[in-house]
């Protein structure tokens, strides 16, 4: 699998690469268990700054404990299981639009992050993961000394 080092200031370039690597990672990491949920679940939004990345995922209807977030190098994986409603005897379904079952999304981050300082919050069905940039990868200012 191709691992690319993404340029620091090239956020748009890293966006394209993120798309590409995310797709290849999704394919690579998808398990053999058939996923009943739609291919793109949960939907995610990614916010970046020089200091870190914030990932938001819309995952309504699950408890915070049912989500498994893992970080391997600079690949973030969100996986979990959404339970269908248990029907009692004599109950029937009229409409079933919400997906259920196992879900898994992987995301290539634009830079390395401090694994120990990653925070995840879950509120009203929205999962927010805050990933601060790792110190080693912060852009360094290099001062120019003039030689005369």
């Amino acid at each position: 699998m191709l691992i690319q080092r993404l340029a620091d200031n090239d956020l748009f370039g890293s966006l394209r690469d993120m798309h590409r690597l995310q797709n290849s990672l999704n394919r690579l990491l998808s398990t053999s268990v058939p996923i009943e949920a739609p291919a793109e679940f949960p939907l995610i939004n990614v916010w970046t700054s020089e200091n870190g990345v914030i990932v938001r995922a819309e995952i309504p209807g699950i408890a915070p404990d049912d989500v498994d977030i893992s970080l391997v190098n600079d690949t973030l994986t969100i996986r979990g299981f959404r339970n269908p409603e248990e029907l009692q005897e004599g109950e029937s379904r009229h409409r079933q639009e919400r997906g259920f079952g196992q879900f898994s999304r992987s995301l290539q981050l634009p830079f390395g992050v401090e694994a120990d300082h990653v925070q995840a919050k879950f509120s009203n069905g929205v999962l927010q993961i805050t990933l601060p940039r790792s110190e080693a990868e912060r852009p360094r200012r290099i001062s120019v000394v003039s030689e005369s």
Binding site: V46, W47, S49, I54, L87, R95, G125
Partner: protein, 135 residues
């Protein structure tokens, strides 16, 4: 049995001819909804991530049930949105209810971004035995 007045398969509800437009420019989405029925009640579950309890508005007018949820997204100062798969906005869906529903007993709750509506069926009159009296 609820039927829908307005049915859209798309997630996005753009300005449709029959739909009322909002006064503020705001994205409006149709929430994915599950409906199932038991002997005593109808249960409706709508995915509305980002919606809190006080952001939900449910109205029942004659037979028309309208569910509306306003989603909040906290600002992230200093960050730029570099990749977006979803937009944040309000959720709205309209259903037509049958007369079988006991309106007074409708209950609504919001948990983890899912709106749950319990619509009890009205108690039908029990069959009465009519005694014939002799004249």
């Amino acid at each position: 049995m609820p039927n829908e007045l307005m049915e859209t398969n798309k997630q996005d509800v753009a300005a449709q001819g029959s739909a009322a437009e909002q006064t503020r420019p705001h994205k409006l989405y149709t929430p994915f909804t599950d409906i199932y029925e038991s002997k005593e009640q109808l249960v409706l579950l709508a995915d509305m991530p980002g919606v809190k309890q006080d952001g939900v508005d449910i109205t029942l007018e004659q037979n028309i049930l309208t569910i509306y949820g306003h989603a909040e997204q906290p600002e992230l100062p200093g960050y730029n949105l570099t990749y977006a798969e979803y937009g944040v906005g309000s959720y709205k869906r309209v259903f037509a209810l049958s007369n079988e529903i006991d309106r007074e007993g409708i209950q609504a709750s919001v948990k983890n971004g899912v709106l749950k509506l319990v619509l009890p069926k009205s108690k039908r009159a029990l069959p009465r035995k009519i005694v014939v009296q002799a004249e």
